[in-house]
Amino acid sequence: MESSSVDAADLTGTFQTYVGADLDTAVEIIYRRALRLSRGEAQAAQDLTQDVLVKIMSDLRAGTLAPVVEPRPWLRALVNNQFIERYRSETRQKRGGAQRIGSLDHQREKGLDPPSPTPGPADTVADRDLRVRLRAAISDLPPTLRAVVELMLDGHTHHEIAEVLGIPENTSKTRLRAAIKYLRGFSSLASE
């Protein structure tokens, strides 16, 4: 994609070309994940959905979006990322001030920037930064648990994870729960 901006009139068509799904279908995927993460709160889900769409539009206009290979997980991952950014923002406010974000270069120096096999939500600098940070946060997990968490963060469902890793779907669920327990332990240690 050229770096020149995209004409507003062509945005919907460009959306379908690059995202790989028409706008209505994409909105449904986004809204379903947003509703889930908002624990059924309709208004919060609408706001989360809108934020994700604004981000996609912004990337389309800027010409920074590469064609998406797997639209469904990609769209879900965008909602996940937006949820995480909001969580961080709210936490920052509750703690009474802004937190500086560790530099991407610093994380890369630690070797925490795994290559992505396909273009995904990590295709812009900000998204790559977030992806690297999240990978760093879960880097202490045992490999079998980390693989499930990474795919979950990338927007895959247990069904899809089971196919990718060649494990039963219930094993994926069990590993996710084990990973949460593991991460909770790190979280409490980190806050001490």
């Binding site: 706008l23 209505d24 809204y31 809108q50 769409l53 539009m57 996940n80 406010q93 999240l134 879960i138």
Partner: protein, 189 residues
Amino acid sequence: MRESIDHNDREHDLGAVVSLLEILADLDSVDEESASLPDGGLAEARASAARLFGGSEPTAEADTAPTVASMMFEQIEGWLAESTLQVATSRGAAAAQTLDRHEPGLVAYGYEPDVEIDADIDADAATATITVVVQPVHAIAATLVLTITSAAGAVRRGTVNAYGIVVVDDVPISEASPNDLRFEWSMAT
């Protein structure tokens, strides 16, 4: 210092990831793709998307969206812009000077026209928490929702509580384009 910052960042990231995964794990049994959706929710999301991308709205579905009675808060953008520039010279969070406004349109909703507006601006995060205080004229006034929309289409909402206070968090602001926020009141549905 650098290590301390990294430690805080990682703690925040870890907390965010755990929070996200807990929600996803809690709802393991729910099939996200086929779960039933609240009435009108998807139609509203699609209508918003159609507006955002400049395409035609799905008319039949858009008709089901609630009718919004609204009014604009003019000049707030200028106040916020001025505050943002002031905050830009410092770091972290800072409170903007309180803005007193006279908004006659609020009377129609059962509120006094005089309102007080505050903003806590986080220059580093480029966001603001905006608080508006309104006074109901009668014991029973309409429940109002304040919607703030940026030019990019980001929407933040808050509902007036029993004390006449509405707080809208995480409003995106920009030093480069601080005049792009639209303030709008509507009736709660």
